[in-house]
Each structure stands twice: as structure tokens, then as C-alpha cells.
Amino acid sequence: MRYADRLGLVLALPLIAGFALPFAGLRPNRIAAPVAEWLPHIFGWPAAAGVALVAVAALARSPLRLPLAALAVAGWLALLGLGASRLAEDAPAYARVSPGAGFWLGLVALVLLLADALARRKPAPVARLALLAATVAVLALVLRLWPDVSVLQEYAARRASFWAEAQRHVALALGSFAAAVVAGVPLGIAIQRTPRLHLPVMNVLTAIQTVPSIALFGLLILPLGWVAANVPGARAAGIGGIGMAPALVALFLYALLPIVTNTVAGLRAVPPSVSEAARGMGLAPRQRLLRVDMPLALPVILTGARIVLVQNIGLATIGALIGAGGFGTFVFQGLGQTAPDLILLGALPTVALAFAAQVIFDALIDLLPGRRP
């Protein structure tokens, strides 16, 4: 057992599957059924054996696991791009090469390995941010090798609208997030100070949380439609029963509960002796809130904010249903056209965005001063 640990053994299975299952699929056109292609078939046996060697070396427990896993992940992604170009050479113009089950399983195994190796090193917050930036840079390089991979072909066909939808997606998620923080934190403070408000406000927020998102959109069409029709200037400002406005409002409403709950929890967790000392030292109520209570509650509040941001980045996909745009546009178009590559074009950036938001937020929380290591 010296050279293997439980994680390496467990991940060996999906990695073997990565070689045993089709690595890519070649389809005559973008919605046809794929013809399976295996890794050795695409690159030849010696090359495939070389790849397998690196992957297996990364599985073994050694100080080299981190660099090997990073190399393996980048290499695995690059292989798909190179393989797609090879397959596309001999294929007709409308043919598509998309990732197969083997690619995905192998990728999952290698990414988990990399994540575990990283987590074991317990990198400092700034190092984590640097790693995130490095990851983005490496991804950008690797994706240059992907011009013949189906997802990137869908991207190439929609380059302009992709970035426009990306902007709308970020605007939806960040806008509703910012509004929820601006409204939720003061609401949390107010509730904490006035226990009478606590139960009613929490009940309302919890009730909102239980309404399914599509139903909430439906519920918002009427009031926002009325506002658009009757309030002068509202329509010009983009407010209406469908579009950005109801999506923003819905995301905002969903985001309130975690923000308010965590604000209250954070303020409650301020040690009584610290509050007592702050009063006894002669800090005025406002100073106590801003200099002592809020800074001490901040980590908990930020944890809530992180949940909200990640949740909103995912939920914003739904906004496409009512014409708010965002990456959901591609997901729903892809569903309508039974074009899985188009679904991926919407889903993958959403996942990446949520992941990046989480890493950034966690690092920010750890960067706050005076926290126990």
C-alpha cells in the first residue's frame, strides 16, 4: 500500500473507464448519433500507452502527484482537441467530433485527483487566487487546440452572441446578488435588533424560497407587466412582464434568505464579552456596529453571500425561459434542437463561472484579518 492510497485506487476505476470507453464520438452532422472512437484508435497504441503511463503515475501517492495530475488534466484536454482535429481531417464538412463517455470519466478522475492534491497542500488565499488565474490561462491555451471539438464549433458559429449572453448572465447573477446584499444585510441587522420582526420576516423569505422558479416568474409577469403599462418610463427602463426585470427580481428574492439568515447568525455569534467590552469602552451604537459587530460577523455573512452568488450563477440559466438571456439561452436552444453540444456551450461556462466565484469568495473570506488559521 506504500505507493497507493484509497483515493488513487478509487479513481483508478473511472480512469480505466476513460481508456476503455469511447474517448470521442464522430457524428455525420450535429444532431446525428455518434460513431464511437477509442483513444488508441485515434492516436495509435504507443501514444495511448504513454498517456496511460502519466495518468497511472499521477494515481500513485508521491510528492509528484500534484504536477503529474496538473499535467494529466491539461494533457487530457489537449488530447481531445488534437484527436478531434485528426478525426475531422478524414470526415465530411458537416461532421462533428464531440467528447465521449471515456473523455468525461477520465476528466472527472483526473480533476478530482488534482483537486485532492491541491487541497492537501492547503494553499494560502493569495496562492489560491493565483492558481485560479493560472487555470484560466492554461484553459485558454488548451482551448486553442479545440477548434474541431463540437462545443467550440457551436461557439465559433455564435461567437458574438456567446459573449453578449455571457455579459447578460454575469449581469443577472451579479446584479441580483448585489441587490440582495444591499437589501439583505440591513434587513438582517434590523431583525437582529428587533426580535419581534424576526419570525415574520423569516417566514416570508422561507415561503419565497419554496416557490419553484418557473412559478415565481409566472407570478411576477402580472405585477411587472402592470408596472410597465402604467408607470411612465418603466418600459423604457427595460421593466416588463418578461425579460431582465422579472429574472432579476426572482433571483433577488431567492438570494435574500441566505443573506439575511447569515447576517443574523453572524451578528449573534459575536461573543457577549466582546459586545460588553465595546459598550463599556464607550463605542457609540453606530461605531459598535461598524467597527466591531459587522467585522466579526463578516465571515459568516460572506459565507452566505458565497452561497448566493454560486446559486444565482446557476439559477440565472433559468432566466432564458422568460427572455432574460444568459447562458441559459444556449441550454434551451440546445434542448429544443436536440443538439447536446449547444447545451454544453451554455452549461460548461456556467459551471466554470460558479466555480471561479466560489474560489474567489473563499479566498476573500480567508483574507479577512484576525481570523484563526
Binding site: 464579552s273 463605542l283 461605531q287
Partner: protein, 305 residues
């Protein structure tokens, strides 16, 4: 001079503090002793208006404390609590600087004051100042709490069980240090404790509280020798009365002419320490540093009122 005038705090039927009047001379230490629930902490918190009294008032050097905003009053009164209450997100130096910053002192003056206080409490400014509270030992946290309370040269220092969280060895040291600092700075201190020995050791006057009222207010010697009520007598306890009494007397007060053999006693020793040394060395008399001696007979004579 701090005056507590007919202070009362009632919660419905409970008289937590009931018509208490005390005066604290400038530069003296007054200890409030009582069992838990006696109202001693409430009384302390009435002074800096963390609790507003039902009746009565407090004067701070002649000024009625009701005439100023509570937070302004508190900046003139130091406050030390049992759990330190250090701000965990601030460094030690920033913690100590709390009140001077609130008062808007210039930066250099604050920095100098923080350094001065850290030195006074035998903490190294260079190493301890930049640390965060969770990086300190219990004894260091306690001292930082005291330094923070002293920072803006308060007119009065309130201490609520300031040594309650320390182990017995550290507590003894902290008590001695506080007494030394108080004598150096001439601070006026109102201290709450449940430990009669601590009160006797530290204070110039002791107020014994029970059920919201002061049962006796007197010097430690008076409390020991003439307890006013059965409750005070119980609190003082039957054991070690003589030793406590001797601990109030400086050994130099009992010095007589002449010489003696044995290890000399330091001039700062109390009579009880002198007796302890005498018994331990099985001597009739011991020399005092710098001349004179202390005899067993003199100590035994002094050991009762």
C-alpha cells in the same frame, strides 16, 4: 472622588441594587465583595451606565454622570471584564488604542501610549503589539485587557472579576502587579470580586454586598476585626483570619533594633510573609534587609486586632 448616591436598580420585584451609597477617594482601591446574585456586578455597571439606575445617581469628580451621553462617560472610565472581551479582529496594539482613537488622539501620541502601557504590564511592544488576541496566553490577555482600560488615563477604573479566568499562580502575580501599577499611576479603582482574600489583599476599602445592599463598608482591617453582621463574618471565614490580618501589615512596621541570624527579609515583605519565613526557618527573629530585625513575639502580638 467618585460618589455613588442612593443607587437602586429594580427589576420588577427584584431589588438587584437597593439604595447603595459609597464614596471612592481619588487614588484608592475599593473592592465590592459578595456572593453571586448579591448585585455587585449590577452596581458596577450602574457606574458606567451600562445599566441605568431606577433611582439615585453617580458623581464623577463632582460631575453628575447623568449630564453627559453614556458613551462619552464610558470613555472616561476604564472597564475590565473577566473574559477580557478583547476585540478578536484587532491586534493587541489596536485593542489598547481603542479609547484614545475614539477620543481622536494624534497617531504618535497613541503609539507612544500603547508602547508605554505594554512595557508597564511587562509585555514586549515589538513582539506582543502586532499579535492578535487568540495568539496570547490567558495571563497576557488579562494584562492587555487592563492596558486597554488604562489607555486614555481614565478617572476611574472598573474591574469586574478581573482575575476570575486565571489559575491561582497567575492570579497571585496579577494581583501583585495590579497593586504595583495602581500605586505607580495613582489610579482610582472600583473592583468586584467574590473572593474576600483578593479584596483584602488589593483594596483600601471593602464593601460587602448581600441581596443588593451594602452590609459593611470599611478598611480591610475593620472588616477582619469587626465584621458588622453574621454574613460578613461568614464571608471572612474563621480560618486564616490572623494570617490575613498580618498580610495587611508591612513587616517594617514591626521592626525593632538589634541583629538576628538567618536569611534577611526584604523590606517589601508583609508581616504574614515574615511569620512564614520565621516558622519555616525555626528562628526566634530574622534580620530585615537594611538593618533591624523582626521577632516572633512582635509578630504574634500583631496578629490580632
Amino acid at each position: 472622588m467618585i460618589g455613588l448616591h442612593n443607587l437602586s436598580k429594580h427589576y420588577d420585584d427584584l431589588r438587584a441594587v437597593d439604595d447603595v451609597s459609597l464614596s471612592i477617594e481619588t487614588g484608592s482601591v475599593v473592592a465590592i465583595v459578595g456572593t453571586s446574585g448579591s448585585g455587585k456586578s449590577t452596581l458596577l455597571r450602574l457606574v458606567n451606565r451600562l445599566i441605568e439606575p431606577t433611582a439615585g445617581h453617580v458623581t464623577l469628580n463632582g460631575q453628575d454622570t447623568r449630564d453627559m451621553p453614556a458613551f462619552e462617560l464610558r470613555r472616561r472610565i476604564g472597564y475590565v471584564i473577566q473574559d477580557h472581551g478583547l476585540f478578536p479582529h484587532w491586534t493587541v496594539a489596536r485593542n489598547i488604542a481603542t479609547v484614545p482613537r475614539l477620543l481622536g488622539w494624534p497617531k504618535d501620541k497613541i503609539r507612544a501610549r500603547v508602547e508605554e502601557l505594554l512595557r508597564l504590564l511587562s509585555l514586549d511592544p515589538a513582539t506582543i503589539g502586532p499579535r492578535f488576541p487568540h495568539q496570547l496566553s490567558g495571563g497576557q490577555m488579562q494584562r492587555v485587557g487592563v492596558a486597554r482600560a488604562l489607555a486614555a488615563r481614565p478617572e476611574l477604573l472598573l474591574m469586574d472579576e478581573p482575575f476570575g479566568a486565571l489559575d491561582p499562580v497567575l492570579r497571585g502575580k496579577a494581583q501583585a502587579d495590579l497593586r504595583a501599577i495602581q500605586q505607580t499611576l495613582g489610579s482610582t479603582i472600583l473592583l468586584v470580586t467574590h473572593d474576600m482574600a483578593e479584596a483584602i489583599r488589593l483594596s483600601d476599602r471593602v464593601a460587602v454586598m448581600r441581596a443588593g445592599r451594602v452590609e459593611q463598608f470599611g478598611t480591610p482591617a475593620e472588616i477582619l476585626s469587626r465584621p458588622a453582621t453574621a454574613f460578613v463574618r461568614d464571608l471572612v471565614g474563621e480560618g486564616e483570619r490572623a494570617f490575613r490580618f498580618l498580610s495587611l501589615i508591612p513587616a517594617t512596621d514591626l521592626a525593632e533594633e538589634g541583629a538576628a541570624s538567618g536569611q534577611p527579609l526584604p523590606r517589601t515583605a508583609t508581616a504574614s510573609e515574615a511569620l512564614d519565613a520565621l516558622i519555616w526557618q525555626n528562628a526566634e527573629a530574622l534580620p530585615l534587609e537594611g538593618g533591624g530585625r523582626i521577632s516572633r513575639a512582635a509578630l504574634l502580638r500583631a496578629g490580632h486586632p
